[in-house]
Symmetry: C2
Subunit: 233 residues, 2 copies
């Protein structure tokens, strides 16, 4: 092993990415963890992630690692925070750039066939003690997600293309961990003009009235209510 002898010139460090992948699974918000097969923390659940290569951007590294470890691609991905304490990894000086990603459960089902390493969804309320500082990263991701559903259309990333208003409300309730008023919720969603009535109906198989199906008017995640903020320049 090489020991750094010229500190003034050798500034190289290892950089990893870690991704908190969320989905809504069995009416709970869940995070995907993979079981580590190498030391340190061999056998322990951890966030999917790995080293950033020299020829790829950090964003690309996050997507690649997610793809490699969970066969997931084409997800909404957003950078969270960079954790850079010198002692956060027992292997040595490793900085990690954390991300969070959202996927709709049905989409995951289709793509997760080629799994090699063990991966499993855990409800955020029942997480095992994860490796490294991954619990802190998950907490941070959850906080960001909870904030963002309030002023963006990010929530749609967790739903199928067409969904009912009840399903949308349920998604909000699951993420925010609180009940919402049905009439006020629908009123708000409709006046935001982000929903399109697809004309379709959803029959659930149960003995109840079918619900209208909606889709999102904008394919992209959109910011709402940018009140009082003007960005000059």
């Amino acid at each position: 092993m090489r020991v750094a002898q010229a500190p003034k010139l050798d500034h190289s460090l290892a950089v990893t990415v870690d991704v908190v992948l969320f989905t809504i699974w069995e009416k709970k918000l869940a995070v995907l963890l993979v079981r580590r097969i190498k030391d340190p923390f061999s056998g322990v659940w951890a966030l999917p992630g790995g080293f950033v290569r020299k020829d790829e951007s950090v964003d690309e590294a996050a997507l690649r690692e997610l793809q490699e470890e969970t066969s997931v691609s084409r997800v909404y991905l957003e950078q969270l925070y960079t954790f850079g304490d010198p002692d956060r990894d027992p292997r040595g000086r490793i900085i990690t750039v954390s991300y969070y990603a959202l996927i709709n459960w049905e989409n995951f089902q289709l793509r997760a066939k080629a799994d090699t390493s063990e991966a499993k969804w855990f409800p955020v309320q029942k997480l095992p003690k994860p490796a490294f500082d991954h619990r802190e990263i998950i907490r941070y991701a959850l906080e960001r997600l909870q904030h963002k559903v309030n002023y963006t259309t990010i929530c749609f990333q967790l739903l199928p293309k067409e969904f009912t208003l009840s399903e949308l409300q349920q998604a909000y309730e699951i993420i925010l961990h609180q009940k919402l008023d049905k009439r006020n919720f629908r009123k708000k969603m409709i006046q935001l003009h982000i929903l399109k009535d697809t004309g379709g109906m959803k029959t659930d198989g149960g003995p109840q009235r079918p619900a209208k199906l909606y889709s999102f008017t904008d394919v992209r995640v959109v910011k709402l209510q940018e009140k009082g903020i003007i960005v000059p320049f």
Copy 2:
């Protein structure tokens, strides 16, 4: 020079920090830039920053570089975003973790004596074309600052310990780049219970009525109006 021959094992990259230091100077929001003396971009204005060392956290590196290049310490500092495109630096693969910092102009005056390299304040509206992707970093920092003044007490980091309500309003107007209503502003600030009447008065030297001096009740930057968000776990 050593060439990486074991790509599977050698994951080392260079990591830098860059800091967008804001102040309010001559009734404008300004950013501190330093003139580079080395290639690349020799002679070009750039954000203060430099390489992260192996034995320090990324936050510590940001504070250290700020101290070294601008003699500034004890500032409010917050991580912004990590920029990781492989071609963002002509020297090679360098990832940068960006920060922004706030300082009150009078405090800077006292501490900036020991300046070695050339440093200068630029109003955000009149920035020179900076080195690297620093313009993007500054834009990002400005956006974050403008958002944060709306729901935190971060603004106080730009003011002296004691200030008048007019000075506080002016700071908001400068950051948000828009005029605010005097009565509504004061009403809001007072009902937030974040201000303490110090009993002192400020006479400006002009022929006008002196203003009451206030200070901030909490030394720390505080979040306001966390409405509708509950963080379980």
